[in-house]
């Protein structure tokens, strides 16, 4: 008996199918994998398929990264393809750019997304611009995996979610998976893409389990996923905040507010149409992201919705993000800085004018 068809395409019409896998575990023939396992499986499959794919980063080989995401890969693919580097983020990301230009397809590991500060020149002035500056002659099929997310008690230099910076840069694509299913399918797409892709993984999500079909599938970029349908308010959430939004949606149910939760999955390309259509339908929108609120991803998404659904909105698009402070270490402080089920719930109640 054949497995159901899991390949998503760029057609919006097909996203309902993805949705069913990612939002529900009731589908048969689908295994439960953790987010980390889904990442690892995507890498292993792509490395088997294409010998040009290799991994570069700190402690990626025997250690399998501090998060153990890559455990086992060096055993299968050897130290020529799973390569431990010095603590030289700029240097080895630069190597990734040059290697990508000349026939290799490197996947570079940036242990904490906070260290992207060190590779901005390689990503922004080099990787993102090579294709354009060369008039379309050189290509940079590079994937940079980085973590994001707070609440791990890691303090200000190990807790940031800096994807807004990369989303701002033409020439890059930016991916923010929120479920094991999405992580696997999007990472495979990233590796096959001929452009530099920055792929963000919420480190607090690595252990989260979810259904992942054993048949091969990829998920196209630029296709938002409706994680939960609803009528009264649209909650657009990214990465770690998707679970928060779903949690809020459950709370909202209890007070009779039906929330639709949409995950854009890629901030660039951005599936504007799905976001705008949903907001038009519900006439209310909230955008939730774990990056710093100000000048962050929520601003762009809120602007897109506010413009696209202007004549349908009942109230202003609301935004929730990290408090505009460096992430503090102390648990009661850190917990106050990021959106929670409760804070999203309250925002939605306010928007829906419920007490």
């Amino acid at each position: 008996m054949p497995e159901p068809e899991h390949k998503a395409t760029a057609e919006h019409a097909e996203t309902a199918e993805n949705r069913s896998f990612s939002a529900s575990s009731a589908v048969t023939k689908v295994r439960e994998l953790s987010f980390a396992e889904a990442i690892r499986e995507a890498l292993a499959e792509e490395m088997r398929r294409d010998s040009r794919v290799c991994i570069l980063g700190e402690d990626v080989a025997e250690a399998g990264t501090p998060f153990k995401v890559l455990s086992g890969l060096v055993e299968e693919f050897g130290k020529e393809r799973v390569i431990d580097t010095p603590i030289s983020e700029a240097g080895f990301t630069g190597v990734g750019v040059g290697a990508a230009m000349t026939g290799v397809r490197p996947v570079v590991d940036i242990m904490f997304g906070d260290f992207l500060t060190l590779v901005m020149d390689q990503l922004v002035n080099q990787a993102a611009k090579v294709h354009y500056m060369s008039g379309g002659t050189w290509k940079v099929p590079l994937v940079v995996r980085a973590t994001l997310g707070a609440t791990r008690r890691s303090a200000a230099q190990h807790s940031q979610s800096l994807h807004a910076w990369l989303s701002h840069v033409p020439g890059l694509k930016v991916v923010l998976p929120s479920t094991p299913y999405d992580a696997k399918g999007l990472l495979k797409t990233a590796i096959r893409d001929d452009n530099p892709v920055v792929f963000f993984e919420d480190k607090m999500t690595y252990k989260m389990k979810g259904p992942v079909p054993s048949d091969e599938y990829t998920i196209p970029f630029g296709v938002a996923d409706i994680k939960r349908e609803g009528r009264d308010v649209t909650i657009v959430a990214t990465s770690s905040m998707v679970q928060v939004a779903l949690g809020a949606a459950t709370l909202l149910d209890e007070v009779g507010i039906s929330a639709e939760v949409i995950d854009p999955r890629t901030t660039w390309p951005l599936d504007e149409r799905t976001l705008v259509e949903s907001a038009k339908k519900t006439s209310r929108a909230i955008v939730v992201d774990e990056g710093y609120l100000r000048y962050g991803v929520t601003a762009e998404i809120a602007s897109v919705i506010a413009e696209g659904a202007f004549y349908h909105l009942d109230g202003p698009v609301m935004r929730l993000g990290a408090m505009h402070v460096p992430i503090p270490f102390s648990p009661p402080l850190e917990d106050a800085t990021v959106p929670t089920d409760r804070s999203v719930f309250e925002a939605a109640c306010k928007l829906c004018k419920r007490p």
Binding site: A155, Q157, P328, S330
Partner: protein, 332 residues
């Protein structure tokens, strides 16, 4: 603390005091760190911490060569540097527990302890992240003619970061009073430094014109002696130096790193712990040369044990900051 130059036999009393003081400091660090591990194991400490056990002689020997208002910068493995520069254990424990009475009001945690009163510019969780800061503090020393010396502590993993070379080049061009103190404990997290470090370590700073020396990082007297010379040299305006201390961390990369077989052997760990413990080495030397007796050293241990226990208890009892404090201290 005094600034040391070559000492004659005449001030041997001072020298002995110094050795005892360094002994005390090393034991304090050891006991502090054991309690940190214990707090983690008992799930009383949020997050992780990187223990300095085994490397105590480096921080203590170097900080002994500094004046009170000299500066240091520190790393993710920073408790030893803080204590050696004079921080008090209770406020450090409080910080590690995220309490308001901590050095950073709970905002920094283990990896960011800073303390202006002891010249501690702060620990840094970015590898080599303080290379620029330390060099800048040395710039201030020269610009403002305060004659302070700065020590920039970092692990050998920081040799992978280009900014270190940028900073050393600037320091040498401008003859800044800064010592780059490299602690080679053999591992960058879980990877042996020989897999990450081409060429000869000391040749790197030397190529930029810095005075570069290495020392047995388990021998606090040797560390102190070499550091004192380089600090004096810097204070005389003769420029920056690089001091490589060969050492070993006895524990995991952080408190949660307990299964270490895949990157280093139990035998290697045992060899270092048995043969190269900096506290044992100094204790043996003191007793052998009749500068202290076992009872005196035991007394130091038990005094410090009580101090540390009290510090932990007070930190555990201290209140957390209130959530509204999250928004404070963003801007000066």
């Amino acid at each position: 603390m005094t600034t040391a130059t070559n000492r004659s036999a005449a001030d041997s009393a001072t020298a002995v005091e110094r050795l005892i003081r360094m002994y005390r400091r090393m034991v304090a660090i050891r006991l502090f760190e054991e309690r940190v591990n214990d707090l983690y194991t008992r799930a009383l400490m949020p997050g992780l911490a990187h223990l300095y056990i085994g490397e105590e002689a480096v921080a203590v020997g170097i900080c002994e060569a500094l004046a009170g208002d000299d500066y240091i910068t520190s790393t993710h493995r920073g408790h030893g540097h803080c204590l050696a520069k004079g921080a008090s254990a209770d406020r450090m424990f409080a910080e590690l527990l995220g309490k308001k009475s901590g050095y950073c009001k709970g905002k920094g945690g283990s990896m960011h302890i800073a303390d202006p009163t002891t010249g501690n510019l702060g620990a840094n969780a970015i590898v080599a992240g303080s290379a620029g800061i330390a060099t800048g503090a040395a710039f201030s020393s020269k610009y403002l003619r305060t004659n302070r010396v700065v020590v920039c502590f970092f692990g050998e993993g920081a040799l992978g970061q280009g900014v270190l070379y940028e900073a050393m080049n600037l320091a040498q061009l401008w003859k800044l009073p800064v010592i780059y103190a490299c602690e080679n404990n053999l591992y960058n997290e879980y990877t042996h430094y020989s897999e990450t470090t081409a060429g000869e370590i000391l040749a790197r700073p030397a190529a930029f014109g810095l005075a570069a020396e290495s020392v047995d990082g388990q021998d606090v007297r040797a560390v102190y002696g070499t550091a004192a010379r380089l600090v004096d040299r810097a204070r005389r305006g003769e420029g920056p130096a690089f001091l490589l201390s060969n050492t070993y961390r006895f524990r995991g990369h952080h408190v949660g790193d307990v299964s270490r077989d895949y990157y280093r052997t139990k035998q290697e760990e045992q060899r270092w712990m048995v043969e190269r413990d900096p506290i044992t080495i100094l204790a043996d030397g003191l007793i052998e040369r009749n500068l202290a007796d076992r009872a005196q050293l035991d007394r130091i241990h038990s005094e410090l044990t009580s101090e540390m226990n009290a510090a932990v208890e007070s930190a555990l009892a201290a209140p957390y900051p209130t959530p509204d404090e999250a928004e404070q201290d963003v801007y000066a």
